[in-house]
């Protein structure tokens, strides 16, 4: 039994089908990348996993528990947390309040204080800005806040949708370094990225999506082969 198992999922919006038979697994403490050009269904896949949209068919289980048909608020409590695209922090609320909100989905409330401290340790910048409006933070700080907010719920698995969006290369590096330490603490991470090179060398395994299907599965070893990568990503037919 894997931590997260996605089995033959078909999903979409209304009559429009987007995903056609997606399957993958991820083990504890591992990282998985999902890459592909705009519009191949990466975000739809994430929304389906977190329960924002209901799939047409297939199965998704977390720690052996079937999560299909559950809403996002219940899935968080089972240990799966999404850092949404564009971060979606509450700009009008303070940094501390944003973190506080992260506690909502936490199961073990007795250790809330400890979790807050631990997160502040990983992201020291959040302590110094605790009283500030979250909207005043820089893009990189906002991304850190969004990740911190998700971590406070104590997820077994963290999903990130386009974490590099709008960030400068140095900040991106910082964010990925922090993700590395999160993974080494035993949390699994799934990163969805349009910019493939960021994840292919980073993640233990990377899925390349095209037209709602998984086109290829590559390891960091494969990623060194530029040509192979390009073929998989852009989908030349030979």
């Amino acid at each position: 039994m894997s931590l997260l198992e996605v089995n033959d999922v078909y999903s979409g919006y209304g009559k429009v089908e987007v995903l056609f038979g997606i399957s993958f697994k991820i083990e504890p403490g591992k990282s998985l990348g999902i890459v592909g050009p705009n519009g191949v269904g990466k975000s739809t896949l994430l929304k389906t996993i977190v329960g924002e949209i209901q799939p047409k068919s297939g199965a998704i289980s977390l720690n052996g528990i079937e999560i299909l048909g559950k809403g996002p608020e219940d899935i968080v409590r089972l240990g799966l947390c999404l850092v949404p695209e564009g971060r979606q922090i509450f700009g009008g609320l303070s940094v501390a309040e944003n973190l506080q909100l992260g506690l909502t989905g936490r199961q073990d409330k007795s250790t809330s204080k400890k979790a807050l401290d631990k997160v502040k340790e990983i992201f020291p910048v959040l302590t110094s800005h605790a009283k500030h409006q979250a909207g005043m933070l820089s893009g990189g700080q906002q991304q850190q806040l969004a990740i911190a907010r998700a971590l406070i719920a104590d997820p077994k698995i963290l999903l990130l949708d386009e974490p590099s969006l709008g960030l400068s290369p140095t900040v991106i590096k910082d964010v990925f370094d922090q993700l590395k330490s999160i993974i080494s603490n035993g949390t699994s991470v799934i990163i969805v990225e349009q910019r493939a090179h960021l994840v292919t060398s980073f993640a233990d395994e990377t899925l390349i999506m095209r037209n709602g299907k998984i086109q290829a599965r590559i390891t960091p070893e494969d990623a060194k082969d530029e040509l192979k990568l390009k073929h998989a990503y852009f989908g030349s037919d030979n």
Binding site: E52, G71, E73, V76, C81, F90, G102, G105, A153
Partner: protein, 290 residues
């Protein structure tokens, strides 16, 4: 003069409480609950028909019934309409409002029901040399206390934080574990309690309760919300307060033309909506984003 100022403040405070109740529900589900009027009405009706009981007991019964009705609205009707779009929800709340009015008419009759509630409140006391009614002082005190409690609840508690977050972005709030059904039911319950208090305040001043008793105050509270900014609770309450004060002032200074006070108020609303759809407390065009 002191009486006039107290009247303005107490009217403002009353509308602020009504606006807060409407604003809470709007925040979490983008619904303008016209039937809030019928929550205020039922509270007033119950206070009138249970007038023989001690005031506190009578009020507790009113508050419980009003809150239950508010939660029932959500569970039986609004919950099932979630996701149909604001126009449908608005019409449904309009329909529910009319439905409840007719039910009240069937139960309590079309003619006003009346009782002297807390008659001691209509007495007068001397304040700074001028005599003012006890009820206006009581109203001011009650509204200040309730607004402080509501302020604490919204600004300092976890429930309040969730309510504010959900009002900004419900989708993300759910991703963080905010339970939508419970939170919305809680918002309705709080708005029910607020409506019960508003019912109490107005029924002391005007004990002639008829099926459409709460409509006027609800429409004016709505006006206040629009003026103050529907996307923020603070703006809603402040807007409600302003409407009460403006209305008091118009009534004092318009003289014979005071019958047109509502027209001026509605025109003000139209102008504010056109210039600043998110209310005067907001940055321009905030409404577009809600």
């Amino acid at each position: 003069m002191i009486q006039a100022i107290l009247d303005a403040i107490s009217l403002g405070g009353t509308y602020a409480l009504a606006a807060l109740g409407l604003g809470l529900v709007f925040g979490v589900m983008r619904l303008v609950n016209f039937a809030h009027a019928e929550l205020i009405t039922i509270s007033a009706y119950i206070l009138v028909v249970t007038n023989d009981l001690p005031l506190l007991v009578s009020f507790i019964i009113a508050a419980v019934v009003t809150t239950l009705l508010a939660v029932a609205m959500e569970l039986l009707i609004y919950r099932r309409l979630r996701g149909t779009g604001p126009a449908i929800m608005l019409i449904a709340s309009f329909g529910l409002s009319v439905l409840l009015q007719r039910v009240y008419e069937l139960i309590f009759g079309a003619l006003p029901k009346s009782a002297a509630i807390a008659p001691w409140m209509s007495g007068e006391v001397k304040v700074a040399g001028a005599s003012v009614t006890i009820s206006s002082i009581a109203t001011v005190v009650i509204t200040i206390v309730i607004l402080l409690i509501a302020g604490y609840l919204i600004e300092r508690t976890s429930l309040g934080l969730q309510l504010r977050a959900a009002a900004i972005d419900f989708k993300t709030a759910r991703l963080l574990g905010v339970r939508s059904n419970r939170l919305i039911a809680a918002a309705f319950a709080i708005s029910g309690v607020l409506a019960a208090i508003v019912g109490f305040i107005v029924v002391v001043e005007n004990p002639q309760v008829s099926p459409m008793y709460g409509v006027n105050i609800t429409i004016l509270a709505l006006v206040g919300i629009v003026i103050g900014g529907i996307s923020s609770l603070r703006g809603s309450a402040l807007g409600g307060f302003m409407v009460g004060v403006i209305l008091s002032l118009l009534n004092t200074f318009l003289g014979n033309a005071r019958v047109y006070a509502y027209s001026w108020l509605f025109l003000l609303v139209l102008i504010i909506l056109l210039v600043r759809p998110g209310g005067i407390m907001s940055k321009a065009n905030e409404m577009e984003r809600v």
